[in-house]
């Protein structure tokens, strides 16, 4: 058993929430992601069983969406937008700055499991570039100073 009783319960409640059962798949993916911070195959299988759909349907849909990591990531998942509007405001150098501060490359996780660094496509924050999303939250109009402070706060929160 991977899923908590609470998540399982929430999934059961979604069974008949929508005009068709399959419509609950994406909401279920969010529930699993909220509990684990990623979507593992075992969790997804269990979630499919709880929802009462085939495991194949669950996995097929889950594999389409890039919002959810498919394996365990750091406690703080740092996602930097490096698309056009952010790039014009220094996103590529924000990425390099984070790489050097964290001592990892894009795609990597720090050895203490605290930070994972990704680049992602546009997050709809172009007027407040450069920016990054960390877990569920946006951090905008970033400067070196702001990044330093944030990283320090997160390191101290261990």
């Amino acid at each position: 058993m991977y899923l908590s009783e609470q998540t399982r319960q929430k999934i059961m409640e979604l069974r008949d929430r929508y005009p068709a059962r399959l419509a609950a798949v994406l909401p279920v993916l969010h529930l699993v992601y909220d509990e684990f911070g990623y979507l593992g195959t075992d969790q997804l299988d269990e979630a499919a069983d709880a929802l009462g759909i085939s495991r194949l349907d669950m996995n097929e849909t889950a594999s389409f969406y890039t919002l959810f990591p498919k394996h365990k990531v750091g406690k703080y998942l740092i996602q930097v937008c490096d698309n056009i509007s952010c790039a014009l405001r220094g996103a590529d150098n924000l990425v390099s700055y984070l790489e050097s501060k964290l001592g990892i490359k894009v795609g990597g996780t720090t050895p203490d499991g605290l930070f994972t660094l990704w680049t992602v496509e546009c997050l709809g924050s172009c007027g407040t570039a450069p920016m990054m999303q960390v877990n569920d939250k946006y951090y905008e109009r970033l400067t070196r100073e702001k990044v330093d402070k944030l990283l320090e706060a997160w390191r101290n929160s261990k």
């Binding site: 698309n83 790039a87 997050l123 172009c126």
Partner: protein
């Protein structure tokens, strides 16, 4: 300054709370709509107002609603498209964060007008805060009797689901969006049948953008003539222009349709940063053809931009100064479409991949002189050859960048040094 409609209370701290929203005239339009209008009359009113979709295509909203079949015994669905993912676009997010009730009131009125009893608000997955705001707004509205059974004693019932996306740009495209809600991989559907005839679960479905729907309460309150009198002849009302890139004051600006692009950049945006000169502007989100600095004396509305060979699109205005390398800028756009292609149609799936490869080769100094034509050729084989317009959206920037800035591409492929960079300072 002109009169703002959607952003009128943007500086009001508690506009997202129902008490403040009501204090500022909120939910009067809903009362009026339910009391004084039959659904069909509302459709006519919206038609008369000239309101056109703000999601990118500019389709007349009332006309779309009127396509719904009459007297059908299937449910009718309304989907609010809050998937906002087009690079350079960030207006729907602000509309939802600062004024969720404005959207909600518009949604309830729209549902009543099209005789829909179940709405899905499809919010892009990353917008967690928007989802919170809308969710809270729905709760508040329910406790005031604006959502649920027998709304304000009218006999009209309505349920609203918030549906959160999974980080896929393609889900903003209306047919993919419906696949997504149905729980499958979000591959686009062939049209026709159009959603108004056969949409979600093969039932009649209307899909409208957040900004489109946020306008509805104001049209009810002030009348169709009032709305139609703002802006241009065919592009009416205000528009939220999303200004980003190399301007001094980036951000959202609500202005009448047809404001000049030059004014937007130099008056509202405060001009170009660091005393550079303007090089180029993408006027309507990453998907639309780019304009050169000498082409910015254009009005920002559907017709005027089309005349200039570009589009208003989502009104994401991306400004680039003359230190920008256009080859590198284009690669940023193309890698986006490569990543976001849903994979259904070969021209888009394979073509975006090839285009990105060619551009990366150019940027690595390994471009061959014939690569410029090759890149253009790949793009012209995508455009028009895919089920949904994501293919066109990927091809249009490529073709326009090459047409307008050919010398930069030729120069790089001839072994020359790039004319600029995309790696701007982070301080």
């Amino acid at each position: 300054m002109t009169n703002k409609i959607l952003f009128k209370y943007i500086d009001h701290p508690d506009q997202d709370k129902i008490a403040t929203y009501i204090e500022n005239g909120g939910y009067l339009a809903l009362r009026k709509a339910l009391k004084e209008f039959k659904p069909e009359e509302l459709v006519e009113l919206i038609k008369k107002s000239g309101l056109r979709g703000r999601g990118g295509a500019g389709f007349p909203t009332g006309l779309k609603w009127s396509f719904l079949p009459k007297n059908m015994n299937k449910p009718i669905y309304l989907i609010i498209n809050a998937d906002e993912s087009e690079p350079g676009t960030f207006k729907d997010r602000q509309l939802m964060e600062y004024n969720p009730h404005q959207l909600l009131e518009g949604t309830i009125i729209a549902a009543y007008a099209i005789k829909c009893h179940l709405v899905f608000i499809y919010i892009r997955g990353e917008f967690a805060y928007c989802a919170q705001q809308i969710s809270r707004a729905i709760q508040e509205a329910s406790s005031h009797g604006f959502v649920g059974k027998n709304i304000l004693g009218s006999g009209f019932d309505l349920d609203i689901h918030i549906y959160r996306g999974g980080g896929a740009y393609i889900c903003g495209e209306e047919t993919s969006l419906m696949e997504s809600i149905e729980g499958r991989r979000a591959l686009s559907r062939q049209k026709p049948p159009f959603p108004a005839i056969e949409g979600l679960w093969a039932c009649p479905t209307i899909i409208n953008n957040v900004e489109t729907i946020s306008n509805i309460p104001h049209i009810i309150n002030n009348g169709a003539e009032w709305f139609a009198s703002i802006g241009m002849a065919k592009s009416v009302g205000t528009k939220i222009y999303c200004l980003s890139g190399h301007v001094k004051r980036p951000g959202n600006y609500e202005l009448p349709m047809g404001v000049s692009l030059r004014e937007l950049i130099y008056e509202y945006g405060g001009g170009i940063i660091d005393d550079y000169a303007l090089k180029a502007v993408i006027p309507g989100g990453s998907s639309v053809p780019i304009l050169r600095a000498d082409e910015i004396d254009v009005k920002m509305d559907f017709e005027s931009l089309a005349e200039k060979g570009s589009m208003l699109g989502s009104a994401g205005v991306i400004v680039m100064h003359d230190g920008t390398c256009m080859v590198a800028a284009l690669q940023k756009l193309v890698k986006f479409y490569e990543h976001e292609s849903c994979g259904k149609c070969s021209p888009c799936r394979e073509g975006t991949n090839w285009m990105n490869k060619i551009l990366k080769r150019m940027l690595a100094g390994e471009g061959r002189p014939e690569d410029v034509d090759l890149l253009y050729d790949v793009a012209s084989n995508i455009i028009g050859n895919t089920v949904c317009p994501l293919g066109d959206a990927a091809a249009m920037p490529v073709m326009s960048f090459i047409r307008k800035f050919r010398d930069e591409f030729d120069n790089i492929c001839g072994g020359g040094k790039p004319y600029g960079t995309i790696s701007f300072p982070f301080r």
